[in-house]
């Protein structure tokens, strides 16, 4: 593969032919294992330069060690998270909040939103989450001994809960999921169209809640205050768009990777089926082993980092799927040990931007697996089918046909 040009300040010996988008194993493929493919970087240097490592084919530095990623994610003075990922697709420049704000502004908005997403708030949702899982699975097993987990369970489950959490009805669930897919995985035309649709939808929703408040998240956002003032339209949009995009398909994807693992590993499946108490720690291990998000930061100044001459404006990739397979951090990182202890993985990031939705996501995944295992007998990947996986900025799994006949 011909390498793309690299900036002059990057020493040629630090350039590697590696990309979360184009390296072997990253393409859309049947029975792929993008996580194992990416773990191979640990055979190489702790930091290197990848010439083509974002959705829009920009180069990034790649930090492979968990320890070094922690330094980057903790040091927002040197490494900013403001990139206008979303707005730039529209030729605009407003931040998604709190993701693209740096401390101290970040903390103001984060404190505002934290109580809405706290572990206690999520506990109150538990019965609704469980009921939704049970209803979906009962419907599946009433008439069938096979299904596509992604379209029959993972998406309708996770997206419904998420919409309910935001205070939205799920009549347009398929439309929302379509936007999310186009935005994360579509070409540039689809991405722009999806971005426009989401912005219009959030703006409209905000206007509706201003006029007629209810008790949902968006009403909170339009009514709340920071520093003694209401939020601006841009701030409301920045929060609405982020929360909407961040929660759309992440949880469904995690459930997909988890059930694919259990389908392929009957011993693990039997263990969790026999001892459901093990599901909670097992989900942590599965989050570690099948992490899905690449975190990116931008250098705010020139800085020499572990021998790399990082210059102001350079992109730095802290891919969670790489850190969580670091042998210096996890014993036998490529072995999936559902009883692993001391599992300080960073699937939900590290530092101030720790995933705001992590408590909700964890409960959904745990409840999803609990109900699936208690209702569906021994399952395997249906003969003649293959789950399609892909790498990229957010790893994914497209289909998962299970069979329990």
């Amino acid at each position: 593969m011909a390498l793309k040009p690299v900036p002059d300040h990057v020493p040629p010996e630090m350039v590697r032919d590696f990309s979360l988008f184009t390296s072997p194993g990253m393409q859309r493929m049947p029975n792929g294992d993008p996580h194992a493919a990416v773990a191979r970087v640990h055979g190489g240097p702790p930091i290197f330069y990848s010439p083509d490592n974002t959705r829009d084919s920009r180069g990034t530095w790649v930090i492979t060690r968990a320890k070094d990623q922690r330094r980057v994610l903790q040091d927002s003075e040197s490494f900013s998270s403001h990139r206008s990922i979303f707005a730039s697709a529209l030729g605009e420049n407003w931040p998604m909040i709190p993701l693209e704000l740096d401390p101290p502004a970040h903390g103001v908005f984060r404190s505002l939103l934290n109580p809405l997403f706290s572990p206690k708030r999520v506990m109150a949702l538990e019965p609704a989450i469980r009921q939704r899982a049970m209803a979906l699975i009962d419907r599946i097993c009433a008439s069938r001994t096979s299904c596509d987990v992604m379209s029959d369970f993972a998406f309708p489950f996770a997206v419904n809960i998420f919409l309910r959490f935001l205070g939205l009805s799920d009549e347009r669930l398929d439309t929302y999921v379509g936007w999310g897919k186009d935005l994360l995985h579509g070409d540039s035309v689809k991405r722009t169209a999806a971005a426009l649709a989401i912005v219009a939808f959030i703006d409209e929703l905000a206007a509706m809640r201003r006029k007629e408040p209810t008790d949902d998240v968006m009403t909170f956002v339009v009514e709340t205050e920071v520093d003694g003032r209401r939020l601006t339209d841009e701030e409301v949009r920045g929060i609405g768009v982020l929360v909407f995009v961040a929660g759309l398909d992440t949880v469904a994807t995690a459930i997909g990777f988890d059930l694919a693992h259990l389908a392929r590993n009957p011993n693990d499946q039997a263990l969790l089926r026999g001892e459901p108490d093990r599901i909670v720690p097992a989900v942590e291990e599965l989050l570690r082993a099948y992490s899905t998000v690449q975190i990116i930061r931008v250098a705010r100044k020139n800085i020499d980092f572990e021998g790399a001459p990082i210059r102001k404006g350079d992109y730095i990739s802290c891919a969670t799927m790489i850190a969580n397979r670091d042998p210096a951090e996890f014993e036998c990182p490529n072995t999936i040990d559902l009883a692993r202890e001391d599992n300080r993985h960073t699937a939900f990031a590290y530092g101030p931007h720790r995933c705001l939705g992590s408590h909700l996501a964890r409960r959904e995944i745990v409840i999803g697996l609990e109900e699936w295992l208690s209702r569906i007998p021994d399952f395997r990947i249906k003969e003649g089918t293959a789950p399609i996986t892909f790498g990229g900025h957010v790893f994914g799994i497209e289909n998962l046909i299970l069979d329990w006949s």
Binding site: S111, N114, P115, S118, P119, Y350
Partner: protein, 82 residues
């Protein structure tokens, strides 16, 4: 056993609380309450597991008091804080 809480490092992962809800208390935002935690003997195993699952290394198992216990249980010097 005592657990030293580095409140400034806490980012609200709530892993400590998930493993030992009786030991680690969170505020309304889901972040750990300030102040070190005295752990009753019956809670020690869970508490140290909770401390060692904190991704931010915000919880330090006080080694001076119970170095021997920590070594015996986990076969490592004070694991909670690296």
């Amino acid at each position: 056993m005592r657990i030293i809480v580095h409140k400034d490092k806490c980012q609200g992962h709530a892993r400590c609380w998930a493993l030992a809800p009786d030991v680690f208390k969170l505020d309304d935002e889901g972040y750990i309450l300030p102040g070190d935690v005295e752990v009753a003997e019956r809670d020690e195993l869970l508490a140290s597991r909770g401390a060692r699952s904190c991704p931010e290394r915000a919880l330090e198992i006080d080694c001076t008091a119970d170095a021997l216990l920590a070594r015996l249980l986990f076969n490592q010097a004070c694991g909670g804080f690296k």
